[in-house]
Structures are given as C-alpha cells and as structure tokens.
Symmetry: C2
Subunit: 131 residues, 2 copies
DNA sequence: ATGAGGCTTACAGTTACAGGAAGGTCAAGC
DNA sequence: GCTTGACCTTCCTGTAACTGTAAGCCTCAT
C-alpha cells in the first residue's frame, strides 16, 4: 500500500505519516523499487493506533510510550492506566483553566452594552491597574 | 523604569516584553543613554492591559485588535463585545472537545484493572481496527 | 507520448515564547 | 581604583506538531 491509501484508511494525512517517520515515532517504511513508501498491514495497524491515541489528546511523547507498552507483551496494565490517568488529570487542569477564563470573560461581556457607544466595561476592566 | 522592574509590576517576563516589541505588538521602548530600555507610565499600563487580556486566553492577534480598539476613543463597544464573544465561543469549543476526550478515556480507564497483568482494555481499544 | 495525479525531498512558516551564549552597564563595597 | 554581582543588550536555537510550498520523479490511462 502506498502512502495515499494508508492516509485514507488510517485517518492521518500523508504528510503527517512522513512526519512521524522523520521524528522516529514509527519505523521507516519499506520502499518500492521506484522509491515510494510501501506499507504492510502491521504498519497500518500501528498508524491507526496512533491516530486513536492522538485523537484522545495524548502527546507524541505519550503516544510513543503507549506504543512501547503496546508492543511489550509483558507490561503491567497498571503502567498504561497510570499514563492514561495522568493525561486525564492534564485535561482536567486545562478544562478548569478554560472554564475559569470563560466565566470571567462572560461576566464582562454581560456588562457590556455592545452598541454604537464607545463605553465598554470589557476594555475598562483590562485597563484597570488596581486589581 | 528598566525592563526588570516593568516585568515585576506587569507580571510579564522581561523576555516576553522584548518579544512583544520584536513582533510589533508594542511600540519600541525609549532608551537610556547606555542603551537600556526605559519605560513610561503609559507603556506599563499597556503591558498590564496585555497581560490581563492574555491571561483570559486572547491570542496575540486578538490582543493587538483589542489594543487598537482601546486606543480608539470612538470605537463602538459592540466591536469589543463581538471579539470577546468569538473568543468565548472558541473556548466553548475547546472545552467541549477536551470534555469529550476525557469522557472517552475515563470510560476506558474504569475498565482497566491496572494491576500487574498485561491485559489492558485501553490498549485493546486503541488497537481496535473496526470502529 | 502525453497529461493528470500521486509520490519524493527539502525548506519555510505557524504560536508564543524560553534558554543560553557573549558581552556591556551600573551601584556598592574594599 | 577595582572588582563583583546583578541587570541589561543582541542573537541564535529549540519547543509541539504539524502545514504549505516548490521543484522534480513515477505511474497509469488514453
């Protein structure tokens, strides 16, 4: 299979697949006689695995760790669980931060008339020096 | 005031202040005879404004727009409100995305024993080819 | 054999800075 | 007068995870 088809079935852009190879996340693919990348079933499964993990927000480094665990028949499931829990904790932190920023800004928006007049509580708040 | 003190009162690292100058977000600061940046009260207010806007998650580009609006005595408050609402919508999207990823992963985590045994529903799910 | 579309590499651009090197400046202390 | 240490300067590199673009092969159908 050539990279274009692999891109379709894996859900990852061809460009991204080449990138993953370039940073060493995946093994260099085999090549046809003319130099095109040639993928095996196993490679495609790996790329699908990566796509799935990335879509859940794991970083490339985390995905790399997950791949290692996946390929280690004897790993303890606790290792995977720990990694996943860390990631959930990260997401929780980000959600809380976004929520807090959103709440603050929403409050300011409510106070702003939003008409043709220049007076704006949002800008006034940003400009407030004593907070 | 020199950049170090400005960093303290504005809450922005000196490095960041220089960076903002380099990308044109703020006007180049004045200089002392020996070449150090010298800041006026107005500059400091601007930097505080930027810090506040950035802390609410506005991008540099958005902050730039906000600064322009702030300096335009005749802008309509509706312009500011629109910009802010866009940003809240962005944050809402991000929150929803994170929440969805978190829910999916949390479900998988619950199913994983997390003990010394290798069997792991999380990895199994990632490896699932038919989804 | 020719044209379309897929593949190749390589390099630049994105966002918002942080780290570090090499060197100039300033105030205080001996 | 000199040194020391803190602060300042510019310049370059690195980060995360790609995306865009250019210039040039390869393949296949007509």
């Amino acid at each position: 299979m050539k990279i274009g088809q692999v891109a379709e079935v894996s859900g990852l852009p061809a460009k991204t697949i080449r990138y993953y190879e370039s940073i060493g996340l995946i093994e260099p693919a085999g090549r046809t006689s003319s130099g095109y990348r040639a993928y095996q079933e196993k490679d495609i499964e790996t790329l699908k695995f990566i796509q799935r993990a990335r879509s859940l927000g794991f970083s490339i480094n985390e995905v790399s760790a997950l791949l290692t665990l996946w390929n280690d028949r004897n790993r303890a499931s606790s290792q995977v669980k720990e990694l996943a829990k860390h990631h959930v904790a990260d997401m929780d932190r980000k959600i809380a931060e976004l929520q807090s920023m959103k709440n603050t800004l929403s409050n300011l928006i409510e106070k702003c008339q939003g008409d043709h007049r220049p007076d704006c509580p949002i800008l006034n708040d940003f400009a407030q020096t004593d907070r």
